[in-house]
């Protein structure tokens, strides 16, 4: 159980990256959803002991994280958003190196752990290759392999699926799903499907604030009967946007199709649809923008 209380961080350029964030994250996958620049990475980095908050508390299973960084690091697996590699070093060598840094100093143990993870991430065949030759998906799988070294109790993966093709994304999410229920896994992403597909719990964050947190299903339930859809002509879009709370616009066969939030039933060609997490997300973002 990771608990974050009243966490704040303002950068020297005035950006309030973490704004009074309080979150309770139980074991299992936890989705942290937010647009680019919402402060997700700042929050992740703070939890991963790489950055000092201005104020607030973080506790992990009763451990004061900010005071005992070293102890948290022993339980932590972290895959940062912008994650690089040494292009000429092979996956196996680098993983071994990381394993030592994680504290797996005993050779046989380390070998077993590295081999297991390489197989689990399906990199076994490519383990001797330089990481520079890896595709984006392989690199991300390598990233999760290193994050899982030493069986961490807290796994943080920051925007891992950005830029992956659907296949690779699936493969990656499968990996995450395998990690198990006994650890805290925080998945930060700006892709709603990642959360929908995987996470029993989630939070939405924008401009450093938590907009909503809880089970995705509960959030979706909150919108039941209030999301309406209509196909319109391109020229009408601005007009609709001014008159309704347009949640999203997407092109279907070249014509805009809009999702609109409305407490009251809408006619005029609008059809009521089943809400999904995306609708929740966009509604929250709109609300946040309005604030």
């Amino acid at each position: 159980m990771l608990s974050i209380q009243q966490l704040n961080k303002t950068y020297s350029n005035g950006v309030h990256a973490i704004n009074n964030v309080s979150l309770d994250i139980p074991n299992g996958l936890f989705g942290l959803l937010g647009p680019n620049g919402a402060g997700k990475s700042s929050l992740m980095r703070t939890i991963a002991t790489l950055q000092e908050p201005d104020s607030g508390r973080i506790e992990f299973n009763g451990l004061d994280v900010l005071r005992h960084k070293e102890e948290l690091r022993r339980k932590l697996g972290y895959l940062p958003q912008d994650f690089g590699v040494y292009p000429k070093v092979s996956a196996e060598d680098l993983l071994h190196h990381f394993a030592v840094l994680k504290g797996l100093t005993q050779r046989s143990e380390r070998k077993e752990a590295v081999e297991g993870l390489l197989r689990q991430t399906n990199l076994w065949e490519a383990r001797k290759r330089g990481l520079g030759t890896y595709s984006g998906g392989m690199r991300q799988r390598f990233g999760i392999a290193q994050a899982l070294l030493g069986s961490p109790k807290l796994v943080i993966v920051d925007e891992p699926t950005a830029g992956l093709d659907p296949d690779e994304r699936n493969r990656f999410l499968n990996l995450l799903a395998e990690i198990g229920e006994q650890v805290v896994v925080i998945l930060s992403t700006h892709i709603v499907e990642d959360v929908t597909d995987l996470c029993p719990r989630m939070a939405m964050i924008s401009k450093g604030r938590v907009l909503i947190q809880g089970e995705p299903q509960a959030a979706i339930e909150g919108l039941r009967n209030r999301v309406w859809r209509k196909r319109i002509a391109k020229a009408e879009l601005t007009d609709y946007q001014s008159r309704y709370t347009v949640l999203s616009t997407r092109l279907v066969a070249g014509h805009p199709q809009i999702n609109v939030f409305s407490e009251l039933p809408l006619t005029d060609g609008f059809v009521q649809v089943e809400p999904d997490l995306e609708d929740v997300y966009f509604l929250q973002l709109r609300a946040a923008r309005g604030v």
Binding site: S12, R45, A48, T49, L50, Q51, E52, E70, R73, R74, L76, Y78, L79, P80, D82, F83, G84, V85, Y86, K88, V89, H97, F98, V100, L101, K102, G103, L104, T105, E109, E112, A113, G116, L117, R119, Q120, T121, N122, E125, A126, R129, T133, Y134, S135, M138, G143, Q146, G150, S151, R171, N174, L175, E178
Partner: protein, 1192 residues
């Protein structure tokens, strides 16, 4: 279109901090080189103006060479950049034309490089106007040399290097291959350098050098000071040919690049090693059940982690391209230089481990300063550059572990680098053979060599950590290096405050590291403690995760320093201060330390106070008897001496002017009743007035005690004369002397001027008759009786001039009683060492060589030379005045041999390790030994007065005598080679003249004149008037002037003897040779031959002959060519080599101005024509005296 690329790229380049760092660094280097002698770029400036046109052009040229690696970054980099950044597809998909692309990029890179050189030029422009530069070394400002330098070197060289790199980058698309290209390029350059050692390869060497520096060097080689200050070499000959050739090559490379560059192929370049493997993609990820393995941290875990990072980082550095390139460059530099180092007259030395290490220090190890600076930045920013820092920083490792690992990695890199150096040394030893591979010497030497770089490396690391910005870190490191240099130019030269500086630690085969390691180790400890503290601070400032503002970092650092690291920091600081105090006590209290300028002030003060006593009439020493006890292990000497002084003047004398070495304790026992007039303990200068004056002819006994102790260690670590093995000092060092010591006066004009002293006076004028009262050797004695008892430890032999009367052991020490049987010069030495002894004899006279057991190589040559010398000198000159000859080896802290009466100390650095296995080489061991033997006549029989020309009598005549012995042994052909080196050294020695060049008969102890020109003059004189008459003159001179009492003889008197033996038509020549500075320019400009009907050959050739006279400053005026010159036509034997040549015709002819085209008839097919073909005349360019014949 190309302009778009150009604009875009130039903007990109100018925004790169690297460009600015490089430009500022090179600019600072140029500034330093132009304003001081400490930074030397391409050799020292010498005595010419700091902004002499030649100097500026040479600097610019040399900077194009050293900026090679930089050019790679700015010219080859852009071509590869697109591929590296993954931009290439985007760019090559646009409808651009490839030559626009290439041209734009290339010109942008070139402009960036020109920007760097603008900074260099700026540094050169303002450097000479700094306040510390002597104003008389600065000429009027002129823009012309800068323009010429840019047009002649900077632009063509950048073009050439740039196009070469473009070609490599565009075709290989591999930075590694580009670097390999640069290395290959350096090979070319070094080959050119190596070839010029063999003087016959001039054209090839001048052309093969892509930078044109060789050609430039040839063109200005024999410039006099006056030439160099005002002229630039004409753009013709070597220079023009070279520049045209390489510009054409640059053009060809450009064309090749345009043709070979294929934008479509971007990124598909072949891999260098192995095939690129395709990733097998398995469709379904297998589900693997893995056991959960959790780390169990223990106390050793951080150490294992540290070790792992160390290994990982070290491996990465060792495999990285820049490291390999620098290593390769260093290896090549070593192999290119090692065969040259220690070479004398073209003869190599044995590749002993000591000289391998010395060569490594000069040619290989220095690359480490670049390596540690560069890789300190790379290592600290390694994770962040690879964007892996967030991962590693979140790992459970304490802060100190990665820092310690990176320090270790840097150390490991240094050791790996030096190990390759040692391996190169051993390989060279194996190739050459003949010298033992002393692994222990290598190991010690490498560790000693590594430690200063380890310190610098740690400083570089900590600077990187503190600044947390790679480029600022580099910049500060450059400042750190500049500070080390600038501090010492400003005479702040104590190692206590010069960052991370250690005193030198000289190694000698005889004495090992001697006692020097002691001071060195203390300084090492001192700076290690400082560096340790720095590292603890760095650890506190270590950045983990997101980098923070400085304020936060300081707060964090304070927090981190609470506890054990704070205590460690305090301990380091205390240790640092403690060792500092201890060092200060040793260097400044037990020993004396004076900064360079303070020492000069002191010397000036001495001159101002006591010069008034120069030449004051004084009783002279007539007898010396001394008990000298040498304690090598304690480095202590106790002298109990006895002088007899005699009033040789016609006046009663009541004053004694006593000069003692103020560094040691000298006491006089029972001086006669006197009053003290001056007692200046600071200078060791004392004048007493005797109550009872010494009547003419009366004698006075003086007893003294000198206690020489070595306490602690000194700052300079300079070589000492009392050593654990290999003590060597002469009487001038420690024995009390009398009269003002004029030898200590400052010689540099500018330093004198600064201190209000007049013009320097190296020697009294030749016409100064009163000065003839003293010999050049000593003003305090003429000839002395000498007797001494010297003792040393039981394992050593102690040596002094004289014949061994008795030797015995007493109280575990060895005693030797030596006594000279006849008066000798007041010049004697004491030596003590563990020697091997080889004995021989010549007509009953024992010859003994005392040498170190590691150096038996040339002992027999020394004995042979001694015998041959005794043969020649006793036959041609006068009898040998002694009954023994002893040659004694001393440590290589100095490289000379010196002749005392029947006793010749000879440095291990010369001769003892000369490699004479190749019979074609000049046997300079034979020559030096013959020269030192000749001093037993020239110096110990005849001694000149202390006026100009006195070293002609000593050194030039010894050169002549030695050349005759050598010629009898090795023949004329060898002499010609020997003399070519002498000519070269004379001509280049002129360039270093500080005051004025003198004609030979007025030489003021100028080595390039009395040795080098002396050889040339006497060899020619011998040729012109014949050996028999010349030797007759010398014999008569020796008979008349030998063992003479004052007034002493002069060079003028010698010339009278020579003139008396010379025919009338040689008198003018003698004037030119001895009394003037004359140069010749002899050339054969055309030579053709045609076969006649009768089978003979008509050879027609055209001559260029000129003769010039120079003044002391090198300003030349033409002279009428008024002497006959030797002409010859040569044929070559079947081998076609020079050794095989035959003279078809030769004649000495006076050639008038209008008959410079000559035709002669010879019987056989000729090969070449020569004017002064054996280079007997002093001619700046010796090579053009001969020309191969072309046939009609």
């Amino acid at each position: 279109m190309w302009f778009e690329f150009f604009k875009f790229d130039l903007r990109y380049q100018l925004r790169q901090p690297l460009l600015w760092v490089v430009a500022l660094a090179l600019g600072a280097m140029a500034f330093g080189a132009a304003s001081s002698d400490v930074i030397q770029v391409g050799g020292s400036i010498g005595q010419i103006n700091r902004n002499a046109p030649m100097v500026i052009v040479r600097f610019l040229g040399v900077f194009t060479v050293i900026s090679m690696f930089v050019v790679t970054i700015f010219i080859a980099g852009p071509v590869l950049r697109d591929a590296e950044l993954g931009m290439s597809d985007m760019i090559f998909a646009t409808p651009m034309r490839k030559h626009d692309y290439l041209l734009g990029r290339f010109l942008a890179g070139l402009t960036a490089c020109l920007f760097i050189f603008a900074m260099v030029a700026m540094g050169l422009m303002i450097g000479p106007y700094m306040p510390w530069v002597e104003p008389d070394r600065v000429g009027p400002f002129s823009l012309q040399p800068f323009l010429v330098g840019f047009a002649l070197f900077v632009l063509p060289n950048l073009l050439f290097v740039g196009t070469l790199l473009m070609l490599l980058a565009a075709t290989t698309r591999s930075m590694l291959l580009v670097y390999v290209g640069i290395v290959a390029f350096f090979v070319l350059w070094i080959v050119a350098n190596t070839l010029t050692r063999d003087i016959n390869n001039e054209w090839l060497a001048a052309l093969i050098d892509p930078f044109g520096m060789q050609a430039f060097g040839r063109a200005v080689r024999y410039f006099s000071t006056a030439d160099a200050n005002s002229l630039l070499p004409p753009i013709a000959g070597f220079i023009l040919a070279n520049r045209v050739l390489w510009s054409a090559i640059a053009l060809a490379l450009t064309l090749a690049t345009l043709m070979l560059f294929k934008p479509q192929r971007a990124g598909t370049g072949r891999r260098l090693f192995g095939k690129s493997k395709k990733a097998p993609v398995s469709e379904v990820a297998p589900t693997v059940n893995i056991r959960s393995i959790q780390p169990t941290p223990t106390a050793v875990t951080p150490w294992v982690q540290c070790w792992s990072i160390l290994r990982f980082d070290t491996k990465a550095v060792l495999k990285s391209v820049p490291f390999l390139v620098m290593l390769l460059f260093a290896i090549m530099n070593f192999f290119a230089s090692v065969s040259q180092s220690g070479r004398t007259y073209g003869t190599d030395t044995y590749p002993v481990a000591r000289s391998m290490l010395e060569t490594l220090t000069g040619t290989f190890n220095f690359m480490l300063i670049i390596i540690v600076t560069f890789f300190a930045g790379e290592l600290i920013f390694k994770e962040r550059q690879a964007k892996i820092a967030d991962v590693t920083d979140a790992m459970p490792i304490p802060n100190w572990a990665p820092l310690l690992a990176k320090c270790g990695a840097l150390g490991a890199v240094i050791l790996a680098f030096l190990s390759v150096g040692v391996l190169s040394g051993i390989i060279y030893q194996l190739i050459r053979g003949g010298a033992p591979i002393e692994v222990d010497v290598y190991i010690k030497g490498s560790l000693v060599g590594a430690l200063p770089f380890v310190l610098s490396g740690l400083w570089a690391l900590s600077l990187q950590i503190f600044t947390n910005n790679k480029f600022i870190g580099y910049l500060l490191m450059i400042l750190f290096m500049v500070a080390q240099i600038v501090l010492s130019t400003m005479h702040f030269d104590h190692n206590l405050y010069t960052p991370a500086s250690l005193p030198p630690l000289p190694y000698s085969d005889m004495n090992g590291y001697g006692h020097f390691w002691k001071g060195w180790s203390w300084f090492l400890l001192y700076w290690s403690l400082f560096t340790g503290g720095l590292m603890i601070l760095a650890q506190a400032f270590w950045v983990r995760g997101l980098s923070q503002e400085w304020k936060t970092r300081v707060r964090l650092a304070q927090h981190r320093l609470i506890g054990s690291s704070g205590i460690a920091l305090i301990l380091c600081a205390l240790g640092f201060m403690g060792t500092g105090v201890w060092i200060f006590y040793n260097t400044n209290i037990l020993n004396s330390y004076r900064a360079g300028d303070v020492a000069m002030d002191r010397t000036a003060q001495y001159e101002k106070l006591y010069r008034q006593y120069k030449g004051a009439p004084h009783p002279k020493i007539t007898a010396v008897n001394a008990n000298v006890d040498i304690f090598p292990a304690e480095r202590r000497v106790l002298i109990r001496g006895h002088y007899i002084l005699q009033n040789k003047t016609t006046q009663p004398l009541d004053r004694l002017i006593m000069q003692v070495n103020e560094q040691v304790e000298t006491t006089w026992d029972a001086l006669p009743a006197h009053e003290v007039v001056v007692d200046d303990a600071d200078f060791g200068f004392k004048i007493i007035k005797l109550n009872q004056a010494l009547a003419p002819g009366d004698k006075l006994d003086l007893n003294f005690k000198v206690n020489i102790t070595s306490r602690g260690f000194t700052n300079s670590g300079a070589a000492d004369s009392v050593n654990l093995n290999g003590t060597f000092f002469n009487n001038a060092t420690y024995f009390p002397r009398f009269g003002y010591n004029a030898g200590a006066e400052l010689q540099q004009r500018t330093e004198r001027r600064k201190r209000g002293l007049g013009e320097p006076e190296r020697m009294a004028k030749l016409e100064d008759e009163p000065a003839r009262a003293h010999s050049v050797m000593s003003s305090e004695a003429d000839w002395v009786d000498f007797e001494t008892t010297v003792s040393t430890s039981a394992d050593q032999i102690a040596m002094a001039p004289g014949y061994l009367q008795r030797t015995w052991e007493e109280n575990g020490r060895r005693y030797f009683h030596y006594k000279m049987d006849r008066p000798m010069m007041n010049f004697y030495a004491y030596l003590s060492a563990r020697w091997e002894v080889k004995k021989s004899d010549w007509n009953g006279i024992p010859i003994e060589v005392y040498y170190d057991k590691k150096h038996p190589y040339n002992v027999d040559r020394m004995i042979e030379s001694t015998k041959k010398s005794l043969d020649y000198y006793t036959r041609e000159f006068t009898p040998y005045q002694h009954r023994q000859v002893r040659i004694l080896e001393f440590p290589a802290y100095a490289s000379f041999a010196q002749s005392f009466a029947n006793t010749i100390p000879y440095s291990e650095g010369i001769g003892f390790i000369a490699d004479l296995r190749n019979k074609d080489d000049v046997d300079y061991v034979f020559y030096i030994t013959a020269h030192e033997m000749a001093h037993q006549w020239w110096g110990h029989q005849v001694i000149g007065a202390g006026v100009q020309g006195s070293t002609l009598l000593m050194e030039s005549l010894s050169q002549y005598a030695a050349m005759m012995v050598m010629e009898k042994e090795y023949g004329r052909e060898k002499m010609r080679r020997f003399l070519r080196y002498e000519l070269d050294r004379y001509l280049s020695g002129r360039g270093g003249e500080e005051i004025a060049e003198q004609p030979l008969y007025r030489v003021e102890a100028q080595q390039y004149i009395h040795y080098r020109k002396g050889s040339l003059v006497f060899y020619r004189l011998r040729d012109e008037i014949g050996e028999v008459p010349l030797n007759r003159a010398l014999k008569r001179y020796l008979q008349d002037k030998g063992f003479q009492e004052p007034p002493f003889t002069t060079s003028k008197e010698l010339l009278e003897y020579i003139r008396a033996e010379a025919p009338a038509d040689k008198q003018d020549l003698i004037t030119d040779l001895f009394e003037k500075i004359v140069f010749y320019d002899n050339r054969v400009t055309e030579a053709t031959a045609k076969q006649r009907d009768d089978g003979q050959w008509d050879v027609t050739f055209k001559l260029h002959l000129s003769k010039m006279e120079a003044d002391g400053k090198g300003v030349e005026s033409p002279r009428v060519y008024d002497e006959p010159v030797e002409l010859a036509v040569f044929a070559r034997g079947p081998s076609g080599k020079e050794e095989d040549e035959m003279v078809l015709w030769t004649e000495k002819r006076l050639i008038s101005k209008d008959e410079r085209v000559l035709t002669v008839t010879v019987k056989d097919k000729p090969f070449e024509v020569g004017v002064d073909p054996y280079n007997k005349m002093i001619d700046r360019v010796a090579r053009d005296n001969r020309k191969p014949i072309s046939f009609e």
